[in-house]
Symmetry: C6
């Protein structure tokens, strides 16, 4: 089975509306082929931004959600046993390195430490990926770039990037978009009116003010799109917000009352 | 061996009596193909609700009880060694994704963290399931939906869904049904008279008032059905409640006395 | 190799003398095919009771002593590599489910958590056993029943059955039999006179009064049978009690003196 | 490869001198085929006693030193991959069960908990050994007996035999032999004069008085035999005691001085 | 597949500017074939120094970034299963030992302890590498040398080199280069003017003064080169420093303000 | 592939200068084939002593540096998969047992506990090595001897030899050699003048006085030899001591100053 990156090529333009200079920053970093770290809360659009940049730069994008049982082999590849003995199968990162894609390791800090050997060799002058089990020293394709995401607020001291890893990356901060931008994103992606989208953004704003005062995190743009779609399926705004925003975000009765009131005020 | 979802198709209508708008909520979420999280105590009917909705929507239902040794491979599939080398075998989740079923991950928070990579890719715009060991990027069947259950009262800080996972789901609260509804459920499923079922529901009500005052959890609807069936097998109500409700629920002498008194008062 | 339950069929009537209504209770639970949990201290006859009931109900009995390294695969089965590739081998639980036996999981709380997936699917309406590695969804034989034992005094908070598991079982309490019953059990099984058996039961009674006052547990019926057999081999009562009761049960000099005095008082 | 117990048969009479009734006790327990637990400090002769009894009863003896990485498979056996696929290989315990030997599990409490399943099934009425991976339910040979050793002083609360395990065994206490007995053991086994052996036993006695006053354990009979052999190789008594007793037993300067003085007083 | 060290040969002279006598020191250590440990903070040029020395001494250089999941097998090699059974594949360290390269184990203290067996046998008179799984005792090529890096400030007590390992190495301290040297390094490697490079070095100096006063680590030379490249891609100095220095190094608002001020002062 | 001990035979006399009666002690212990434990700090010559004795006694010497990931299989051997199925490969210890070598387990306390089973069976009367996976009970060659090293100062309570293991060994203390002996060792092995060697020994003496006053360990004889070789490569004494003694041994500025002063005083 020949492996390629075709399945990871983005064929339709992902909707993205820029908030600041992030496109210029990323374009420069990609131009210098420097690795990039995206910092920011969940659901604020980091993944969509990378998709947008990959589409704009016409590069395939390999996205991997990292987790605490993930090892370097999950990224690099492994030998599989077939009818004619073992054959090597490239992992998602190796495919990107070999064929010139952007590899996006989402929440890389969750992965096990043996990813360090990979990240270091790919992010200094060498730009190599040692496939140790295969005995191959793969030099990265000139178009390859490594991108990782990182949520500074979540990490404990025990589970953090090593200083010697952090210093290899360019870093960009992400937050929620401006209300006007967020409203037009929600309207476009949920297929709802601008007016309804604005109401949802208002509700989100109130939830975000509660962050640190009883909520771990405010409502994300993704949640607003979910609520919009549920209205399009026939629920009322209050029903949709209950299902897609309030009930998922907290089990605390006081917080629920505060969020319900915020919904009522906007409905 | 060809794998299909036929074994998971529900052929008889599961008895279910709605308490609130849960059917409308779920129907809208399924209509938008949004992932759903069911919150609530054990034995209150979450599983039966999903069975009912799967039957109503004419979709196969793949139910998986999660546990702390469960890994992503248990859900996604693995290579098995056969006479002609290895062949791939889809796991239960992959079957649902490939053939368009509803996959219900019961108490997903118990599973190991590598399920995160799966849940994330299936619950955002991509709706893909990366079968990394197989080198396949499986796009979900249009009918596929992911449902998880979650008991907020049980989780410790150490073992909880990540905020970035929670925000991907619509959420619905579940509790015990109203007494009249619960009585008719018990009568129907245990094959006993309405009068006897009402007595059992009264007993359950008293046990649920003891929650947090010596009991971890009150008697579930399931326990009432068990007690009803034991009466149908010839035990007295007191014997049946001892066997199916009181002895399982607590070893504390005071609690047992309180529960026995509740049974006597209703017998 | 064809697998059957023949080796687990009980061909001779196991001696058992009932203390209360336990036979009626169990018969009703088996009649409704409800899962049963037996609670009580070690060596009080839980295993023998299940053997008796299996003999009485003419069902094969598969007993598994659980331990903290036991996984679901140990119960369900696994693929083994043979000359013609792999073949599936049913585990002890699967044999009982497939061919209609009673499966007794002794001290199930010791096993690893992945047994949860099994217990849940077998103890609700579905009565199925998902053989995930084999891709088979096995519906339980109509005669199958699941029985577990559980010692409430031993479990720590960290290692306990989940509430959602407990509530699926009917439960019965067990204790040591009444002196007369215990005496005739000991006489019959050790092949000794009733008088000697009575002395042994007296000694046991004194040891059980020391429980919580220096002893973790009093002498079990099993220990009395051991002591009786040693007398039948030619030891004196004092020698036999030293070997089979006192030395095993404690290393504390005061406790040993108290137990020795109890033996002397009865000899 | 056919497996037998021939290699474990004891062909020469092991020197053993009884201190109390231990031979009568053990003979009765073996007569009733009851499992036996030997309690006592290291190097006091428990292993040699079992060897002696095995020789006397003309049974092969399989000795296994347990450790914290030992699993049930190490005792029971496993499948090995050979040119014609897998074949089963009996572990040491299974050999004893199948062919009728005595199996001595030295310091069994060190082994992992999955040995419990084995011990329980072999030590109650069933006397069976479930070879779960092989799908075989092996009934013990009539001559089979299980013996374990246990050092009560060493075990922590976390690592102890379960009460439900302990109560299955007859138990016997062991200590150092009387001086006269120990002297003749040392003389015989080291090949030295009775006078020299008596001096070594005196030295050991002084070291045993220091137990709990700076030493974890006094000098064992084994150490005296070692010292005797070194004198036979040409060292002085002081050199031999330094090498075989004092330096191994402690690094504390005061304890060393005390032990050296004890040696000088006897030399 | 024949394995060689050709891929690890450095064909172009790596830019390196010496700060002290490090070249003389290293040359002497290599002359005596003594193992070397490089101590110092991340990104100060240790890797580049080894590359320079390998080029100067015309030896292939095998660099391995160690991590906490790394085992001796990852370094030494393993058997792989192919169509004709297993074949041995040398790991990166074995290649260096066999063919006479320099092996650089970056942050070796992160690796698992089984690397100790390797390091000890290679760093004393024996200069051997036991390939235990292969049953080969490989004597090191006369040109082989082992180099490790070690950051004293990072290691906890639990994770440190054993004293018996440390004492086998010659050790050299590394720090950031002098400003003039660092400026010319940055100018050369980023392809920017000397003036701009000097500004970047000034900014780095200020960040290094904040080490221990809110920053874990100051800006490394590598970061300055990144910033320089981004200016070459068209960003302003402030934009480039934000992306390559300030945002990666800290999330603390006060530290960011201090660093931004340092950038502004130099821009 | 036939395995032998030829590669482990010492063909050239290792330089060794005795400090006390250690050669007589060891010769007696080997004569009685008693196992030996060498106690003492790192780098004081324990390994070289064993090499010397192996050469003197004309026995092959198998040295294994133990570590915390080492299991019994690493010592005993394992099955490897080849073109004709599996074949057994003796581990280093098994080779010594089978062919009559001395096996030296350096820092055995680091290895995992399953080595206990090996050590016990090899160090009592049985002198057997159970190759459990192979089903072989290997009786030790008459020339076989087991030697272990042990550094009492390093071990924590959690990681220590069991008392029942310690008591099986003869033990010998090691320390640094007398200055005159050490000087001639250093001169011989580094190829330097006696005068220079004497200076190095003086420096080492001062560092050893700092042990426990800021240093974990003083400079070992090995370090002095390293320094001597670096002078032979052209470095000054101060440069050589910085590289081979001071920088490796400590990162504390005060300790470095004290050591530098000691070097200057002797230079």
């Amino acid at each position: 089975m020949t492996q390629t990156l075709d399945a990871w090529r983005i064929t339709e333009q992902p909707a993205y509306q820029a908030s600041n200079d992030e496109i210029a920053y990323y374009t420069a970093a990609y131009g210098a082929r420097l690795p990039v770290m995206l910092k920011g809360p969940t659901g604020c659009g980091k993944t969509r931004f990378v998709e947008h940049m990959a589409w704009k730069l016409r590069r395939p994008l390999v996205t991997v959600s990292c987790h605490e049982d993930m090892t370097a082999s999950d990224l690099v590849g492994r030998y599989l046993l077939g009818p004619e003995g073992t054959h090597w199968q490239d992992g998602p990162l190796t495919l990107a390195v070999r064929f010139g894609g952007i590899c996006y390791l989402d929440e890389v800090v969750e992965a096990r430490q043996d990813t360090t050997v990979i990240i270091h060799a790919l992010t200094d002058d060498r730009r190599i990926l040692p496939l140790e089990k295969k005995g191959e020293l793969l030099t990265a394709h000139p178009d390859f770039q490594l991108v990782i995401s990182y949520n500074p607020g979540y990490q404990s001291v025990l589970k953090d990037l090593k200083e010697s890893t952090k210093q290899r990356f360019c870093a960009m901060d992400f937050g929620y978009p401006d209300p006007a931008v967020e409203g037009s994103i929600v309207a476009a992606q949920a297929g709802i009116s601008d007016g309804l989208a604005r109401k949802l953004v208002q509700i989100a704003g109130k939830s975000r003010n509660l962050r640190g005062h009883g909520l771990n995190e405010g409502a994300s743009t993704r949640m607003l799109i979910h609520a919009g779609r549920l209205v399009a399926e026939g629920l009322t705004l209050r029903q949709a917000c209950s299902l897609a925003v309030v009930t998922p975000i907290t089990d605390d009765p006081d917080m629920r009352a505060a969020l319900d009131a915020a919904v009522d005020a906007c409905a």
